[in-house]
Symmetry: C2
Subunit: 286 residues, 2 copies
């Protein structure tokens, strides 16, 4: 291709010097909410001691409102919206960006929110394997009119390393478990409070308990395609989500605002510690 336009990021190989802009990136953190990914970038900027207060940090994708992107030293922070299709568009264009920028040894981590199953709200789940609605470790990608099944395994060593980091943070409930990824927040996750609901509370609980038995500890909407695409493209990947409620108890998220904010910061805190540890180790080696 003469030119590659990364349409949904409003970047391109002819309009931007991608190696100069992104060549030093070693960590990519992605999450659904634009505001949260901006907060994370500002937090990393501060934690890495990158000079001024970061107030002038600009959205690199300001020319589009599909995604937002911020950079703090070697850390790129990008929003991906909600659901498999939304994150998959971003990942295609991000992976091409990393290629054009000639980045190497990149670690990519999704930090998000989720519904827990049988664990206390506020727990942080590090995903070992992402599973679909049938508790299977697979992502079914439609290619033209064929369905291709892809593996959703994540990097086991990276998950263990993150779990180690979590132990250094006081009062930080963390576990490793399967994460179920659905196409829908309401019917697909067994919620009784959507605009449409055709099943009973008993059927819901039966489903969620079977999920628990299969090793699922939380539910979100992006992990399978994230694991599949990163795996195929050789990126070491992890998923770290905090749970906002226990789905065995309720369907609606109605935590007090300050509690919600504190919970949402937990994955950020863990990843910040992880990145600082990795960078410290690299400095010692050099």
């Amino acid at each position: 291709m003469d030119e590659d336009v990364l349409y949904h990021l409003d970047l391109g190989t002819k309009t931007h010097n991608l190696p100069a802009m992104f060549g030093d990136v070693k960590f990519v953190c992605v999450g659904g909410s634009p505001n949260r990914m901006k907060s994370f970038a500002l937090f990393m900027h501060k934690e890495l001691g990158l000079g001024d207060d970061g107030d002038d940090m600009k959205d690199i994708c300001a020319g589009t409102d599909r995604y937002c992107m911020y950079k703090a030293g070697p850390v790129l922070s990008i929003s991906h919206g909600m659901g498999i299709p939304s994150i998959s568009i971003m990942l295609h264009e991000l992976i091409k960006l990393l290629h054009h920028a000639r980045c190497c040894d990149v670690t990519i981590i999704r930090i998000g929110t989720s519904g827990g199953i049988g664990i206390a709200p506020g727990s942080v789940v590090i995903t070992d394997t992402a599973v679909d609605s049938f508790f299977k470790p697979r992502f079914e990608q439609v290619i033209l009119d064929n369905i291709v099944t892809r593996s959703t395994e994540l990097d086991k060593e990276l998950a263990e390393e993150l779990f180690d980091c979590s132990k250094e943070i006081p009062n930080f409930p963390t576990l490793i478990g399967h994460t179920m990824c659905t196409y829908d927040f309401y019917e697909g996750q067994g919620r009784l409070d959507g605009a449409l609901c055709s099943f009973s509370r008993e059927k819901k609980l039966d489903y969620l308990k079977r999920a628990y038995k299969a090793g699922v500890r939380n539910i979100e909407m992006e992990s399978t395609v994230f694991a599949a695409m990163c795996g195929l493209c050789g990126l070491k990947a992890a998923v770290v989500c905090v749970t906002l409620l226990d789905r065995l108890d309720c369907d609606q998220i109605n935590l007090p605002h300050d509690v919600l904010v504190e919970y949402q910061q937990r994955p950020q805190l863990l990843i910040s510690n992880f990145i600082k540890r990795r960078l410290g180790r690299r400095e010692q080696m050099s």
Copy 2:
């Protein structure tokens, strides 16, 4: 339920007077991009002659960055992000909102952008039937671990009425056709320029030509679930998308900025004319 929290809209039955805020809504317009839905609300505000210049129009969902929502008289304008899961969360909460607000006779229209097949870029496609990647008029909803197939038919009279409106606008290429809805922008739509691509140009063209033969004139990522949910909830629904490229010619969108902006305004212009016609007719009747 004692209280219904519409979490992703940051609205609720206890925190907001939904009938007072939304009781007069007759038209709901939804689209992927937050900026475009704000522009549309400002445009409707002006077109309906609603007093001041609308500059102080506020995002009703400002407390969350998942979606944005604006109101111009009887017109509600809401963003839904990209892809089936993202629009489905919004629709669940919107449909509950309309119910709590006791709205009646609501018409809902998705205005968006799409890739065309065998038609000139800039054409406006009014969807008669939304089809999936296999050209079938169905939406497969996963409910717990069952797959339920739902109809994706849209309101035929509404589509005809919109087509009539289009004839009154000069130089406004419009057609009625099938719209294919995919879970992915790259592999799922036969693009050769994604981070992953396992098929040839020949296979791509064969697929898109078969789609054309099956009646598909454009491709986007939300229409099947939109048609299915609105149909089940008794909302008269339409999908009106402009095409930004002809997929038989290319994969990348690289229109000059001003052309892109003009194309994106076409569905807005059509819907504005439709709403003004409907409101004029209602005034004559009263």
